[in-house]
Structure formats: structure tokens, C-alpha cells
């Protein structure tokens, strides 16, 4: 309870601290590492979510209502190919990044 009350009265303000700490939540540009890019053949996709489950960077969103039902965030995708390897329908192709416009 005390904590909750404090939460209401506490104000976020800049404070000087001494010693090592990190408080900027940031992401590295890992999309630039990619040599191969996953391309989903949507017409064969059964929207099972396997690719989403195994993506190490958690970049895959499944939207069952859409025709392009699998969205992969290419800003961060390293192109590891786990999604393609695990896909039970084998409907994700890894294509050479240089061949994609």
C-alpha cells in the first residue's frame, strides 16, 4: 500500500548518479547483418505460429485476418533462418539479401 501511495506522489526527475549504470533502452541495428531474408509464401501458410515461437529476436507477428498473415520485422531480422527451417509447411524461403530490392 505504501508503495502504491508513493507511486502517486513520486515524480520522475533527472538525478546525478556516480558509477556504472545504463538507463537508455536501445536496440542494435541487427537488420544490417542479414545475408538472407525470409520470404513467406502466404498462400501455403497455415498460420500455426511455429515461426513466431522460435524466432530468437521475437520479430514475427501472425495476423490471421490478413492475407499477408506473417509479418517479420526486417529492421532487426538477422536472417538466421530458424523460421524457415522450423516451418512445418516449409513455406518460408531464405533468399539472398542482395537479390531483394
Amino acid at each position: 500500500m505504501l508503495n502504491q501511495q508513493e507511486q502517486h506522489t513520486k515524480k520522475l526527475q533527472k538525478c546525478r548518479v556516480l558509477g556504472p549504470c545504463a538507463v537508455e533502452f536501445a536496440a542494435a541495428n541487427t537488420g544490417s547483418w542479414r545475408l538472407e531474408r525470409p520470404i513467406v509464401r502466404f498462400n501455403e501458410c497455415i498460420k500455426c505460429g511455429t515461426c513466431q515461437r522460435f524466432c530468437p529476436a521475437d520479430l514475427i507477428t501472425i495476423d490471421k485476418g490478413k492475407k499477408e498473415c506473417v509479418d517479420i520485422d526486417m529492421n532487426y531480422c538477422k536472417g538466421c533462418g530458424i523460421c524457415a527451417n522450423e516451418c512445418p509447411k516449409k513455406c518460408i524461403d531464405m533468399v539472398d539479401e542482395r537479390s531483394v530490392g
Binding site: C15, L18, G19, P20, C21, A22
Partner: protein, 400 residues
């Protein structure tokens, strides 16, 4: 009301830790520190100290637990000696680098090898550059007082630097002396509650502490620590004064005894300082103008105060209770030499290793030597060392 009690040095540490109301204790037994670990567990068990006691499996873990717990916002306690302190070495630097103001009694004992249970300063002096403040105590009352003041110094927001309160193993840790203990309320008023406004582990206000930092910023963070030591110097003077006002006992960064008009002084650290004063009195009766200087704070080293205190005294004998291998002199000599101009004759003496007694005769010998010296010599004098015999101390039958 303040009251007198007979305490040994270790128990004086425990009394101070108890009155500082630490919340987490992590301690690992090692001679001659063991009774601190035991008594703290008793205080927790009996409820006299409302804290969690972590019966750790090593000194390395003891220090790690202290750092982890204190980063959540509580005052912690641990204590160690000798090789235990050496085992902590890695984490001592984390404590100081993360500005965790832990107060730790170090019961000085020789470092292996050879094995010894007895006192010298090799253990704490070896941690000279770990980023910890170091105060050395002369007697049991001094231990208790220094512990109380240590919390104020280390936790000062301008200082935020951990501190070792060093007491000579057995000479102080196991020596029963009369100690004036204040009331809890007085201590509360003096030390106050522990609050942390620096790095803190708090899931409601999270941060990532102690990650990898680039060299540029590390230089600045190390400079922050250097500033902490500078501030510690000033804060110590304030805290010593406040302590005097409140409890009536004076303390200084470096204390002189009969230094006025002295021709020669001996500079000491720790429990030998009492012996030095006694010898000074005796030599005065014999007509010798000598004095004694006790260094209380080895880190920060009070160079300016020492310089003022020694002003006009041409002969300075420095007794190191450690070896300083390969240097021109041992660490205390180096500091003293650096503080003074070349006009001073600063001569180094190595004595009291591994509990070898620094008795009145030892100090007299040092005074006789310095009074008769007209130069410092190229290396320190090893007191009572049979240098002729040293290389042949063991002869064994073996196949060669």
C-alpha cells in the same frame, strides 16, 4: 546513559555494527576475525540485531552478498582478515566502482605464504588501490568510535566509498579493554537511517547496474572515485569534529604526540602507536627530544596534515608492518617520503611481520638508529632480522 563495558576489539566492531542497525550480515569465519562472525550470528539469533544473517561459504561470497544487498538499499555488514581479504579482492573493486559504501572491519593478519595466524598489515595494504578508504585503529575504544564514524564517512553522498576499519589481529581483536558505549538513541542520531540516492536495484524504478563501459567514460568514472577520496578527506574532518562535540573523543587524520621541538619522530600505523607514545615518554625522561606520529587514515593519505605536523622535524623514522618488496621502501615510507621535501631525512624500518612483537625495545632501537643517522640509506632497515643467516635458514637432505 553511556556506560563502560569490557570488550575486545572484535566485540567492539560487533557492538558498532549492531548499533548501526545493519539489515543484512554476510560473514565467513577466519582467524582472528571469527568471533565477529560468531557474535553477529548470536545478535541476529537473539533478535538484538534485526537483520538477515547469510552463513556464506567464502569471503568472496560474503563481499558479493554485501554488495548485492546494499544495492537494494540496506546497510550491510561483513568482516574479514588476511587471505579472506585477498579472496575478496575482485569484489572489493566492484564495491568501490559501484560506489557501495560498505563498512568493513579488517582484522589485520599476515598473508600466506609462509602461513601465519598473527598480525601484520600486508593484507589491507595489498588492497591499497582497491578504491576503499582505510582507517587504522590504536585501541579498542578507537575501534568502536572509528566504526561509528566510518558509516558517516562512507555513506556521505559526496564520498560514497566503502571503508575498511583496520584493527591489528590479536593485539586489538582479542585484547580486552574498557570501552565507553553510548546509548542507542545517541548513535541513531549520529549515524541516521541508511538512504541510497545513487545506483539502486529496484524493480519499480529499474536500471541496469555495472554493465560494460567504454574507456572514455571509465576514465571519468575513475575520476569520480578520485573526487570521492578528496571529499572523504574533508568529510572525515567534519565527522571527527561532530563526533568530538557529541561524544567528547577527538580523532584526526594523523595524530602527533610530543612533536613540538622534536628532533626525531617515529611514524606508525595501528596498535604499535600506543607503544610508540610510551617510548617517547621514556626517552623524554632520558633527555631525548623525540615524538610520535600516528597515521589514522592511510587512504586517503593525509599528506598535507603530515607535512604540517612534521614541519621542522628533520629526522623521520617510518615503521612499516609490511614488506614493500622491490620498492625503495615500504608503502608507508613511500607515502611519507612523497609528502616531505628532500630536506627531511626519512628512513624506513620494517618490523612486526607476522605478529612479531613491536615492543618498547623495538621502538627504542628505531629512535637510537634515526638519531644516529645522517642519511636514510638505500633500502629500509629490517628490524631484528638476522640478515647474515637469512639465506641459510633451512637446510634439508635431498637429492640434487
Amino acid at each position: 546513559m553511556a556506560h563502560y563495558k569490557m570488550l575486545d576489539g572484535n566485540t567492539a566492531c560487533v557492538e558498532a555494527i549492531k548499533m548501526a542497525k545493519v539489515k543484512v550480515v554476510s560473514a565467513y569465519p577466519i582467524t582472528p576475525q571469527s568471533t565477529i562472525a560468531e557474535k553477529l550470528s548470536e545478535e541476529v539469533e537473539s533478535g538484538a540485531l534485526d537483520a538477515g544473517y547469510i552463513r556464506v561459504e567464502s569471503e568472496h561470497t560474503a563481499m558479493s552478498c554485501a554488495v548485492g544487498a546494499q544495492l537494494t538499499g540496506v546497510r550491510t555488514a561483513t568482516a574479514t582478515a588476511s587471505v579472506g581479504l585477498a579472496l575478496m579482492h575482485e569484489v572489493l573493486n566492484v564495491a568501490s566502482g559501484c560506489r557501495v559504501p560498505i563498512v568493513m572491519p579488517v582484522v589485520n593478519r599476515s598473508l600466506a605464504s609462509p602461513w601465519s595466524l598473527w598480525c601484520d598489515h600486508q593484507d589491507s595494504i595489498a588492497e591499497r588501490d582497491s578504491g576503499w578508504l582505510q582507517l587504522y585503529c590504536e585501541n579498542v575504544q578507537d575501534i568502536y568510535d572509528t566504526m561509528l564514524m566510518a558509516y558517516r564517512i562512507a555513506e556521505n553522498p559526496e564520498v560514497l566509498t566503502p571503508i575498511m576499519v583496520c584493527l591489528d589481529g590479536f593485539f586489538l581483536s582479542h585484547s580486552m579493554q574498557k570501552v565507553l558505549l553510548p546509548e542507542q538513541a545517541e548513535v541513531d542520531e549520529f549515524i541516521g537511517e541508511y538512504t541510497v540516492n545513487n545506483l539502486k536495484l529496484d524493480p519499480e524504478d529499474p536500471m541496469v547496474i555495472d554493465n560494460l563501459i567504454g574507456s572514455d567514460e571509465i576514465t571519468e568514472m575513475k575520476y569520480q572515485q578520485a573526487i570521492g577520496f578528496e571529499k572523504a578527506h574533508d568529510v572525515m574532518l567534519e565527522v571527527f569534529e561532530e563526533f568530538y562535540q557529541k561524544f567528547g573523543r577527538r580523532k584526526a587524520l594523523v595524530e602527533g604526540y610530543r612533536t613540538e621541538d622534536a628532533e626525531a619522530v617515529v611514524v606508525t600505523l595501528g596498535s604499535m602507536s600506543g607503544t610508540a607514545k610510551y617510548v617517547v615518554d621514556q626517552l623524554h625522561e632520558q633527555g631525548h627530544k623525540v615524538g610520535a606520529v600516528k597515521v589514522v587514515s592511510f587512504r586517503p593519505f593525509p599528506a598535507k596534515e603530515l607535512r604540517e605536523l612534521l614541519s621542522g622535524i628533520k629526522k623521520v623514522a617510518v615503521i612499516d608492518r609490511t614488506t614493500g618488496f622491490g620498492g625503495e621502501g615500504a608503502p608507508m615510507w613511500v607515502e611519507t617520503k612523497a609528502a616531505l621535501s628532500d630536506e627531511y631525512l626519512v628512513k624506513g624500518y620494517i618490523a612486526g611481520l607476522a605478529g612479531r612483537d613491536i615492543h618498547t625495545g623495538t621502538i627504542e632501537q628505531v629512535f637510537r638508529d634515526i638519531l644516529a643517522s645522517d642519511q636514510a640509506g638505500e633500502k629500509p632497515v629490517w628490524i631484528d632480522c638476522n640478515t647474515e643467516h637469512a639465506m641459510n635458514i633451512r637446510e634439508v637432505n635431498k637429492y640434487v
